[in-house]
Symmetry: C2
C-alpha cells in the first residue's frame, strides 16, 4: 500500500463564514478556496465545545467532552484517555504537533501511575498524544502551556529582543515615533505588528510544518502533521501589509436585533454583559478589529498557498489527506457578544474542508456537503485513511470517507452535539449557581437547535426559518413540543455513553452464534443454573453438534 499522510490544519477562532468559498463578500481566500475545489466543504460542521481546550481535546481524542472530561480551558486531559496519536502510532504513523493544542498535562495522574514525564510516552501523554515537533500555544504570558517557546528564541535570534518578544514585537504595534502600542488592546488592531511579516507567527509556523514534512519524508515515514495556527485568535494584530488590506467598508453588518437584548435567556444575558461583549457591540470596535481579523485570515491563506505549492512540488497531493478547520468561531459583535462560549452558529460552527487524495473521492471534488458533521469525525477519518481498524468503542465520531466518496446513505447523523461548562465564567456568579449546575448542552438536528442547561431555561432556534438565529423561542410555550423532542434526543445521547473503552463491541458479541445453540460457558466449565447431569449433558451434546457443524479447528474450540 502506498505510504499515506495527513495534514491537519486548524485555525484558532476562525468563523465558518470568513472565507470567500463560504460566501464572504470582500475577503478573498483563493488558496483555501482551491483546497475546497479539490475536496469537500462541509457547511454544517460543529465543534464539540465552544472554547479552545475542550474543543481541541475532542478533536484530538475523537470523543465528546462528556467522555474526555477536559471541560474547561486548562483542565488537564486525564492520563490514559486514548488520543489520535495513540491510534495512529499503532498503525505506524508519526503524529506530530506544529503549533497550538491548549493541552494541560495530568501531572498528578502521571505521578500516580509512575510515568516519567520526560520519557517518550510521558511526553506523548503530556502533549495530548502528539510528538511535539513544535509546541506553541501563543499567549506567552500564559506560561502554564509553554513557558519558553522556541518562537521567542527565534525572534531574539532575528534581533527582536525583549523580556517577552512575542508580546513586545510580534503582538504589539508601533507608533510613528517608535512608541509601543499594546496589541492586546482592541484599539490598536489597526496598527501593523512590529515585525516584518516573514517573522510573524503564521509564516513561522508554516515553515516549521514544512521542516517537519521534509524530515518525515526524508525518513520515509507515514505522517500526520497537525499544523495548528494560533491565529486569527486575539491578540488582534497583524503585520504589514495585512494590517491595511481591509477597512471599514469590509465590515459586514453585525447580525443582531434589539429584541435579543430585551429579555435574553439568563445565561446569554450574562455573557452579553461581559466586557468583550459590550465592546464588540460598539461599531467603533468592530470597525477597528474586524479588518485586522480579516488580515490575519488573509495571511493564513497566503501561507497556505506557499505550503500547498511546497506539497505539490513533492507530489504530496497524491497521498496526503488535507483538512482545514478551526476550533470554534468568534462572535465579533454578532448577537451582542464577543468571543465564543455560546452556541450561535458563528461560534459553534466551523469551516471544514477535507481533501481526500484517493481516486474514489474524485466524484465529490469541489462539492459542498450539508451533512451534520462533528469535529470528532476527523480522528476516525484519519484512522480510516491510514487503513486502521475502526474503534467505535472509543472514537465517538464517524469516518467521513463515505461522505467524501459519495457512498453514504441519506442519513448521516441525526444530531450534532456541543457542550460548554460556564462554571469558571462570570455567568456562574451572576446567576448564583453551584459549579455542578453550569453545564450547557447544544443539540441540533439541522432544523432546530436547543441549548439545554439543567438550571437555566432552554434556548431554541428555528434554524430553517431563522437562519440568523435572532429569535430565541426556548421560553415560548408554543415551542414546548420541539424543546421536548430535542431534549428526548439529548437524553438518548446522554444515556448511551461510550464509556466502555477497554473492549470492543465484538468482545460482547463474539459468542452470539454459540449462544444461539448452546451455553458457551459449558466449555470452560462454569455451569450456571444447571439442575442435574442430564440437563448438562444436553448442553454438551448441543455443543458437540455445533462444533461438528462449524468444523472449527481444535485449538479454536470453545
Amino acid at each position: 500500500m502506498m505510504r499515506r499522510n495527513v495534514l491537519f490544519i486548524m485555525c484558532d477562532q476562525l468563523r465558518f463564514d470568513y472565507l470567500s468559498c463560504a460566501g464572504h463578500r470582500t475577503l478573498d481566500t483563493p488558496n483555501i478556496d482551491r483546497l475546497a475545489s479539490r475536496g469537500v466543504r462541509f457547511t454544517n460542521a460543529y465543534v464539540q465545545s465552544t472554547v479552545c481546550g475542550p474543543s481541541r481535546m475532542s478533536a484530538y481524542t475523537g470523543r465528546y467532552v462528556r467522555s474526555h472530561g477536559s471541560t474547561q480551558n486548562g483542565v488537564p486531559l486525564r492520563v490514559g484517555e486514548p488520543t489520535l496519536g495513540d491510534h495512529l502510532r499503532e498503525v505506524g504513523v508519526r503524529c506530530a504537533l506544529i503549533g497550538k493544542t491548549h493541552m494541560a498535562a495530568d501531572d498528578e495522574g502521571m505521578e500516580r501511575l509512575g510515568i516519567d514525564r520526560s520519557s517518550i510516552i510521558g511526553v506523548h501523554i503530556a502533549e495530548c498524544g502528539f510528538e511535539p515537533f513544535e509546541r506553541d500555544d501563543g499567549l506567552h504570558p500564559s506560561t502554564a502551556y509553554d513557558p519558553d517557546p522556541a518562537y521567542d528564541a527565534y525572534l531574539r535570534e532575528h534581533g527582536f529582543d525583549a523580556d517577552n518578544p512575542w508580546e513586545h514585537w510580534a503582538n504589539s504595534g508601533e507608533g510613528r515615533n517608535g512608541e509601543n502600542f499594546n496589541g492586546w488592546l482592541l484599539v490598536h488592531a489597526d496598527k501593523a505588528a512590529r515585525i516584518p511579516e516573514e517573522h510573524s507567527e503564521t509564516p513561522y509556523m508554516t515553515r516549521r510544518a514544512m521542516r517537519f514534512i521534509e524530515e518525515a519524508e526524508a525518513a520515509g515515514q507515514s505522517w500526520c502533521a497537525h499544523l495548528s495556527y494560533i491565529k486569527p485568535h486575539w491578540p488582534y494584530i497583524v503585520p504589514a501589509p495585512y494590517h491595511a488590506m481591509f477597512g471599514k467598508q469590509d465590515v459586514q453588518p453585525a447580525v443582531r436585533s434589539e429584541a435579543e437584548r430585551l429579555s435574553p435567556n439568563p445565561v446569554y444575558g450574562a455573557f452579553q454583559e461581559e466586557r468583550y461583549s459590550r465592546n464588540f457591540s460598539r461599531d467603533e470596535v468592530r470597525e477597528t478589529v474586524i479588518p485586522c481579523y480579516m488580515g490575519l485570515i488573509k495571511q493564513i491563506d497566503d501561507q497556505l498557498g506557499h505550503l500547498f505549492a511546497f506539497m505539490e512540488e513533492r507530489g504530496l497531493f497524491e497521498n496526503t489527506m488535507i483538512v482545514f478547520t478551526s476550533d470554534h468561531g468568534d462572535y465579533l459583535g454578532d448577537h451582542w457578544l464577543g468571543e465564543k462560549y455560546m452556541f450561535h452558529d458563528v461560534s459553534v460552527k466551523v469551516p471544514m474542508i477535507v481533501y481526500d487524495p484517493s481516486k474514489e473521492a474524485d466524484a465529490s471534488r469541489g462539492t459542498t456537503s450539508d451533512a451534520l458533521v462533528e469535529m470528532i469525525d476527523l480522528a476516525p477519518t484519519f484512522l480510516d485513511h491510514f487503513g486502521g481498524k475502526a474503534k467505535p468503542h472509543i472514537l465517538e465520531g464517524r469516518s467521513l470517507l463515505s461522505l467524501l466518496r459519495a457512498q453514504s446513505s441519506g442519513a448521516w447523523r441525526r444530531y450534532a452535539i456541543s457542550e460548554y461548562d460556564f462554571s469558571a465564567d462570570m455567568a456562574r456568579l451572576k446567576l448564583n449557581l453551584p459549579v455542578g449546575d453550569c453545564k450547557l448542552y447544544m443539540i441540533t438536528d439541522g432544523h432546530f437547535k436547543l441549548i439545554h442547561g439543567e438550571a437555566t431555561p432552554p434556548m431554541l432556534f428555528d434554524v430553517t426559518n431563522d437562519p440568523r438565529e435572532l429569535n430565541d423561542r426556548g421560553r415560548d410555550p408554543a415551542s414546548a413540543e420541539t424543546v421536548a423532542h430535542l431534549r428526548r434526543a439529548l437524553f438518548h445521547w446522554l444515556a448511551t455513553p461510550r464509556n466502555r473503552i477497554t473492549v470492543e463491541d465484538s468482545w460482547l458479541t463474539a459468542d452470539d452464534d454459540k449462544m444461539r445453540h448452546f451455553d458457551p460457558l459449558v466449555g470452560p466449565g462454569v455451569l450456571i443454573g444447571y439442575w442435574d447431569e442430564a440437563e448438562l449433558a444436553g448442553q454438551h451434546e448441543a455443543r458437540r453438534k455445533w462444533l461438528e457443524e462449524t468444523e472449527l479447528p481444535v485449538n479454536q474450540q470453545p
Copy 2:
C-alpha cells in the same frame, strides 16, 4: 491522631434479607447481628450494578458505572481510573485485598502507557488499587482472573490433590461410595462439600484476613482490609455441618405472582426464560438450594464470630471501622428469576452494616437507617474515617459519617441509581437489539422505582404500596406522570456527570472573589476584550484596591 483502620467485608450474592437482623425467620446470624447492634444497619442500600464486576468496580472506585466504564463482568477497568487504594495510600493507609474483586486488568492500556505490570504500581493498577495480599475470585476454571490461586496450593498441601482441587474437593460433594457429585449442579446443593469445614473457602479467607491484620499491626500501619468472601455465591455447596443445618421448612415462599409471567416487560421476560430462572422457579430447586445458601451464610457468620473475637482481643474495635455488605443479591426464584441482573430489591438491594468506632457514633449504635445509600458511599466514608480530604470531583458517593454520627439533615440523597448493560446476555439476542441499546438504568426515590432502557418499555414499581414489587406499572398509562418524573431525575443525573476528575471544584472557584472585583487575568497580562489603555487602567486600579484590602502577601498576589 490515633491510628485507624477499616475492615471492609463483602459477601458475594448475599441478599439483604438473609440475616436475622434483617428479619429472616429461621436463619440466625448472631455475629453479624451483633455488629449491627454496635453500628448502623442501612435498610435501603443499593449497589450500582447488579452483577459482580461492575458493582465491585463502583465499590472500589466510589464511582458510578457510567463513570468507570467497566460495564460488564470481565471488562477491564481503564487504566488511570482512580481507586479507593489510590486515595487511601495518599493518606498513608495500606489497602489490601483478601479475596475476590472480579477485576480484569487493562493490559492494553498499561502497555500503551508503558507501565510494567510487575512493578508495584503495575500490580496496584492490575488489582483495582489493592495490594493483593490474597487474590481469589473463586470459580477456578475461569482462569482469566486468577489462574493459580494460593488456595489450590493450600488444598494440595493438606492432601486434597487434583487437577482442580478447588472444584474437585472444595466445591463438589461425595456419595456414600466415594463418588464425586459435581457441586456446580444444583441437585447436589444438599450434599456436604468434600473437605473438612476448616479447609473450605470461608474459614481459609478469614484466617488470611487475620494474617494480614497481624502483619499490618506488627508493622504499626494504618490499614484497610478488604475481606471479600466469594460465598454464598454459587457453586451452591457447603461443608458439614452447614450442609444439613437447614431444610425445606426454612425455605420461605417465593415472592412471585402468576401475573408476573403473563405479559412481562420484554427484558424481564427474556431473563425469566434463562435456564437459571426456569430452574429456580421450580420448588424442588429452591428447596434443595436455599438450605445450602443459608448454610453458606451461617458459615460466614460463624467465621465472623472468630474474626470479631480476634479483633476484640487486640483492641481493634477501638479504632477500626467495620463494614459488612454484599456486591448484589440473588433472586433464588423470586419473581420467576434466578441469579441477579434485574432490579427488584432482592437483587439490587444489599445488606449494609457500618460500625464506626468513634465516640460521635455512640448515639446511633444499634439503630437502622432507611436513608437511600449507595455502595459508592463507602469509598468516601473510608477516606473521611481516615481524615483524608473529600474528593467530590472524583468520588460520586457521599461519606456516611454524618448519618452514623446523626449529624445529617433530613435530605440525604433524593435518588439511588443502578445500571446494568445486558448486551452480553441472551436477552440482547432475544430482543434483537444492537449492543449499544442494552443499557438499563434503575432510579428510585424510595417510593417509586423506575427501570429505564432506551430501546425497551419502562418498568415501574410503587415500592410504598407494593413493597414485594409484584406489579410492574411501567406500561400503565396511569403511571405516565410518575415515569416522566423519574425519567426527568435520571436525565438530571445523566446531564451532571463527574467527568472532570483532574481538577477539583475549587480550581474553578478560586478566583470568585477577584472576579467580583476585577478581571483576574489582568495580573498575568492576558487581556481579553479591552478597548484601550483607559479601560485597562480601570481594572488595574480595581486590582490594586482589592490587593490593598485583602492584604495578601506579595508572593500570593494574583
